[in-house]
Symmetry: C2
Subunit: 416 residues, 2 copies
């Protein structure tokens, strides 16, 4: 299998001003294409360091991909560094400049001298058009290594990779697609997945990666043998069926949207401590408008009592973070929207506001589907951000479970 190094370029990546999301995208895409990712490195915008990093990797790996440093500003040095490392001159590409001008004009951005910079690339480069921005990508071969540079702006990089670079690589390296499968689980401790995996024993030809994040567990399997992969995947799923969410891109939100699409049903949300996080997760799924009617962000007690008619007596006695409040919210939400399903979330995300009886992390989730209604009490760990993320994921999962149980005609009892 051809080897690959990924270099994400930018001082801001080393000093942590921004999070590098490009390496993950490239790692995932190139792994699926059949490359072994040997190295990922974050490299500063320093010409010398970048030249040296590229020189060390030339001849060592079959393929190097650089992302970033192709912009119009003075600290963008990728083209110059590639030129130096591969001993090529830098020249002005008329075709690239025309693209830049056309693109800027369509956005009503005045053309400046600095825009010419992006048209200077190493000689005899393979050019990759940018469907969503001004910076062209380019490729050069040196010491039997192919080096390709793509922009650092994530959506420009992604569209260029998918439209131009990935197809080019498949041909250039005669790549065999590798078989991969991700299994997504939720609502169980990490150590249980491990116990199950140890019981089923992983076949030698299967690579297995477990990743846990805010209550979601993703097991990624990789193999050149499709049959062995599928058998193992099936065993794993069977062992953990009650926690199984879906495969690959079947996120909790996408799964919920698809479940409701199948029965042409609808959903609405009422969010207190998550403040819109659940709504934005559902609406991040393209096509969610078929099932998602909308929601109420009931962040204040005023919103809870006036917009969703939570009785003031509940706020005054047990308070807004209570099973009673979650129940009133979800019931009144469902009848307001006249939806098939409804979710309410009310809780304490912190950092302040916790007490001994009701610590930060206390969250009540109200769920209603058809004529069923339940309220779940949770104690989540983590900081404000993590508690909100866990609340969102758990709410999605419990809604999915309620819908599945209901359609499996198991005995589900309404509790509120």
């Amino acid at each position: 299998m051809p080897t690959c190094a990924i270099f994400a370029i930018g001082n801001e990546l080393l000093t942590g001003s921004i999070i590098d999301t490009n390496s993950a995208f490239l790692g995932s895409l190139l792994t699926a294409q059949g490359f072994t990712i040997s190295e990922i490195r974050l490299v500063p915008d320093q010409l010398e360091t970048l030249v040296e990093t590229i020189e060390q990797a030339l001849g060592k790996y079959d393929f190097i991909i650089c992302t970033g440093g192709l912009g119009p500003t003075f600290d963008d040095v990728t083209a110059a560094a590639v030129g130096r490392a591969t001993k090529r001159e830098i020249s002005f590409y008329e075709q690239v400049y025309e693209h830049i001008v056309t693109r800027l004009q369509s956005k009503n951005v005045p053309i400046r001298d600095s825009h010419r910079r992006q048209a200077y690339l190493p000689d005899q480069a393979i050019l990759f058009p940018n469907p969503m921005g001004t910076a062209y990508g380019f490729g050069v071969e040196s010491e039997s290594t192919l080096l390709i540079a793509v922009p650092g702006v994530p959506y420009e990089m992604k569209s260029m990779m998918e439209a131009h670079v990935a197809p080019f690589l498949t041909t250039r390296f005669s790549l065999q697609r590798r078989f991969m499968e991700e299994l997504r689980f939720t609502a169980l401790p990490e150590s249980e997945v491990d116990d199950i995996i140890e019981q089923v024993t992983i076949p030698d030809s299967v690579e297995c990666i477990i990743n846990v994040s805010d209550g979601e567990i993703v097991v990624r399997l990789k193999s050149d043998d499709q049959n062995i992969l599928q058998q193992f995947s099936q065993k794993l799923r069977t062992g953990l069926e009650q926690f199984f969410v879906g495969y690959n891109d079947e996120t909790l939100a996408a799964l919920l949207v698809n479940l409701l699409k199948r029965t042409k049903e609808t959903i609405a949300v009422a969010e207190s401590c998550t403040g819109g996080l659940l709504g934005q997760e559902i609406t991040a799924v393209p096509g969610s408008s078929e099932v998602f009617l909308g929601g109420i962000i009931v962040y204040s007690n005023w919103a809870k009592t006036k917009l969703l008619q939570v009785p003031e007596s509940i706020i005054d006695t047990v308070g807004p973070v209570s099973a009673e409040c979650a129940s009133a919210l979800v019931k009144n939400l469902k009848s307001l929207f006249n939806s098939s399903a409804a979710i309410s979330i009310t809780g304490l995300a912190g950092p302040s506001g916790g007490t001994a009886e009701q610590p930060v992390g206390t969250v009540f989730i109200g769920l209603s589907y058809r004529d069923l209604c339940v309220v779940k009490h949770h104690s989540f760990s983590g900081d404000r951000q993590s508690i909100r993320q866990r609340s969102k994921k758990m709410a999605l999962w419990q809604m999915i479970t309620l819908i599945r149980e209901s359609s499996a005609k198991e005995s589900v009892k309404s509790e509120c």
Copy 2:
């Protein structure tokens, strides 16, 4: 200045199953503490590779920090790798196991054999308690390099770094805090920042990093000389005053929340294409409950017409993505919540639904503050996620601008 390497450990980071956010946090924290970050590398969960990576860095850098691979599962190899690279035995630490048992019991998680694994660490290690999880951190010295391993779960790593590791490093390396300042700008093209920076000329002792992401531009300045840093920062701000958002952690949402807190005013949101993203961004700011009353996610036309009384004639003629709809939404939202400020967002985030007259990326933002009301029309670039992010940021920025203009008593005219 002492040098530092950051190794983020996990196969899932190389194959892109998850995005490495820890390196950015560590890079930012350690830079501020006075380290030069010489290298960031993502390393697989392979004992041999990790041993080799650590061996190469021992003696080369003053400090190495490893994050990840301390969990209870079979692919967690950090303790073993550190032991091997520094030629230390691995031993069972009773104190660590007691912490694990206490923590699990408090969460009602049954104790399993696999939980003992996290108590095996290299001999004679400095221990760092984990305020939010089971995995202890540890430090060892070898070849005049200090190596510290911390967990990979982001909130566990962060709380351990802040509570225990950072103070330890300050003493151990007699660190001098470096002066840093971030200036946040929005709503201007990247190339303009560059032109301004070139005009003002960066002093030699100031390091300057520019980072652009979905419509927000962050300029990070770093220097050992506080006066020179502040003078340059002031020049930069003056040159771009109309686009200046704030310093350091003053994100758009935090800035808006603080502006409203000062005058004890309130805000509500009505979101269509962003589906809750704006609400969740505002409520991510701790203490936002003082000003944020809540919102309506008007994702469907039903929600627009029934919950916020957008006239059906608007939906039928100009459609839900229109200035008229944004205007009706924001006006009716403000009177429903009786808030001082209100924001509405309606647009086409794609991927489908675009036409020649109204392409994907068309977004209308309605803004109301006191007796003012304006609607802004935008054409955003990017994919669904990016268009939603840009809409959110622009809405926050335009609200901030409206409030500032209004209190500066400039002539602001209501337009809707």
